[in-house]
């Protein structure tokens, strides 16, 4: 693990030279790391019951709710983050859509009492009010993310693969900044 503390360097190189960090990074009160590898599915259906039947499990009903690794993102949309290697039935012929998007996104984990501040640096939602166990799609500045509050101070962030480098470094910049807050 790389111990960098508040001395995380501000980003100064060109966008082309940014690389995705591999190991966790510690800041003051916050730790940024990669989430473990997951199977990801985008699940769609007009009628959740049909999808329940295909998957053999009950999907969360309300937007923002999660259950057993599946978050309800929209009235007809669920996002599954399941153990690596999980495969879901496709429900051929039924009015459902099950699409494997395991490779589409990467997961980051922000944890610690400072994690909320790092996320709030670029996410316009009032995340303090996102209850533990809820998830939502939103943005971090101009980049779309899915935020999943796994515990009071633990946030899982999903981001499409090619935006991950930028997001990683935007998080680092926010971690750097919060460490240097307003020396009096």
């Amino acid at each position: 693990m790389v111990e960098i503390g508040v001395k995380i360097a501000p980003v100064a190189v060109s966008a082309a030279d940014l690389k995705l960090g591999s190991g966790p990074v510690e800041g003051t009160g916050v730790r940024l790391s990669h989430a473990e590898t997951k199977a990801r599915y985008s699940l769609r259906a007009r009628d959740a019951a049909v999808l329940d039947g295909v998957l053999g499990r009950k999907l969360p009903a309300k937007i923002g709710d999660t259950a057993d690794g599946i978050a309800c993102l929209g009235p007809d949309e669920w996002y599954a983050l399941l153990p690596e290697g999980t495969t879901l039935p496709k429900g051929e012929g039924l009015p459902v859509s099950v699409v494997d998007v395991s490779s589409r996104a990467l997961g980051f984990v922000l944890e610690g009492p400072g994690a909320l501040a790092v996320l709030s640096s670029g996410c316009p939602l009032d995340l303090a009010k996102l209850a533990v166990g809820r998830a939502t799609r939103t943005v971090f500045e101009t980049v779309e993310i899915v935020v999943w509050r796994e515990a009071e101070d633990r946030w899982h962030v999903e981001v499409w693969r090619s935006f991950a480098i930028w997001l990683w470094h935007a998080f680092l910049a926010a971690m750097h900044s919060s460490g240097g807050h307003a020396a009096k």
């Binding site: 939502t136 799609r137 779309e144």
Partner: protein
Amino acid sequence: MLLIHCPYCEEARPEVEFVYGGEAHIARPLDPSTYSDAEWEEFLYIRSNPRGRHHERWRHTHGCGRFFNAVRDTVTDVFETTYKAGEPRK
């Protein structure tokens, strides 16, 4: 940055999650071939552009993904209401 109440998420969310979709309740004709050039022009291009109550579409693109309708005052930018796609004009 506007705060927009999404009728699907049932909460107010920041404008940057949304994409504006232009005037609402302009339905594509079921059979465009029956439209005259003038009617087709009206469907494509003529917009009410009112000063005041405006029925408009938004998509909660970076949220639940749904299109919905809104009534907004174009002078104050204040939303009067938002409602789900398919519901009658308010």
